[in-house]
């Protein structure tokens, strides 16, 4: 089935099988391996991306459902070689250990600030309840979101 979508500002018009999951399309066909496959059961959030401005788990939808959509992955966050404020904050605050959850975590954290530029600790933790960090480095992730909020990363 022929679909059209925009990923990180670039247009793609692939012919896909309806059963192809969006994460598999991104990683295996489009070559965008930033979003990770962790649990593949919509629990861990490592595959989090944005579809039409909303954070979603890309292992939980088919590529055909993204026909006509505007998709943003972790690869599209940095602009002109400059990291997004949330990426910068994760770097500065040591918001990662092994790094496996990080692409999804950064996308989920960006979504928190898109809705709420100055979240409380509770609101941040509520906002990342769909993302698991098996290194259990949550405190530094919360610190990263606060640091990003402090420099006005929210819209």
């Amino acid at each position: 089935m022929k679909i059209n979508l925009t990923i990180n500002g670039k247009k793609y018009s692939p012919d896909v099988e309806p059963r192809l999951l969006l994460i598999h399309y991104l990683r295996d066909v489009a070559g965008l391996t930033g979003a990770h496959i962790g649990c593949e059961t919509s629990l861990c959030g490592a595959c989090t991306i944005e579809v039409n401005g909303k954070s979603v788990k890309s292992c939980g939808m088919f590529a055909v459902q993204a026909d006509g959509a505007d998709v943003l992955t972790i690869e599209g966050l940095a602009q002109d070689g400059k990291l997004h404020a949330m990426q910068e904050a994760f770097w500065n605050q040591h918001g990662l250990q092994c790094g496996f959850c990080t692409p999804g975590m950064i996308m989920a954290c960006k979504a928190i600030l898109d809705h709420n530029p100055n979240p409380s600790d509770d609101e941040i933790r509520h906002g990342i309840e769909g993302n698991l960090c098996r290194c259990t480095g949550y405190q530094h992730i919360v610190n990263s979101v606060k640091a990003a909020a402090a420099v006005g990363a929210g819209r």
Binding site: M1, L21, T41, S42, S55, F62, G127
Partner: protein
Amino acid sequence: MIPQTFEYTAPKTLDEAMALLASGGKPLAGGMSLIPMMKLRLATPEHLVDLGRIKDLDYIREAAGELHIGATTTHYSVESSALVRGKCPLLSAAAGAIGDPQIRNVGTMGGSVAHADPAADYPAALQALEAKIVIRGAKGERTVSAADFFVDAFTTSLESGEVVREVVVPVEQAGTGTSYLKMPQPASGFAIVGVAVRVQRSGGKITLARIGVTGLSNIGYRAWAAEKALEGSAGSADDITKAAALVAQGIDANSDLHASADYRRHLASVYAARAITAAASKA
């Protein structure tokens, strides 16, 4: 995890969708339950009819003292809608308790209700709100009360070829207090037990009590005995404890690796007491 092959159609109108469903298609809404089931091959539909492109199913409207929520309205829309927050806070509380932000951005009212997961959050709230489910079928529309809609685990009164078109809840009246509290399973967020409460108070007495319970049994159900015990009482701490002790009466409680039947029954009375107390304090 790759699902079995299937045909996919994304109609633009409900009429087109109804024709496809009449010929054996399986409706896809947000897919937050159906797609994981397809990945595990617990569900193997041959033809998916995606309702997500039908624009006139995504709405929240107020009319004649009721809120009408279109089937493809996401949990996030229900949770964040100023109209729902202001006029039916119990429904927005239940929506905000579902899964996690990414799930709420995609999962829909109609999909969740039609799926009828015994641990879903909406059934408890819809029972406490005495909601109506508007069903569209080949022969037209019919309306079913939440009490009649949920039949068994993953089983509703929807017939083959029918879909949920909208859910209708009453606008909260003055003197009403509501609360939805749940003990979530930590990984999935599903309710091990969840209790939704709506009470009205007048002249120092509780004049109306509606209690919906999810996670405990095969369906989200109305706790009639507890409601009856609460109505007419002053709503004292003692009255609440006595009523809450009745929420699991006569219920065949679920038991799994997360919680035994006895523990679930215990949780139900604890969460019922907390939710009734919270609701009564707002009434």
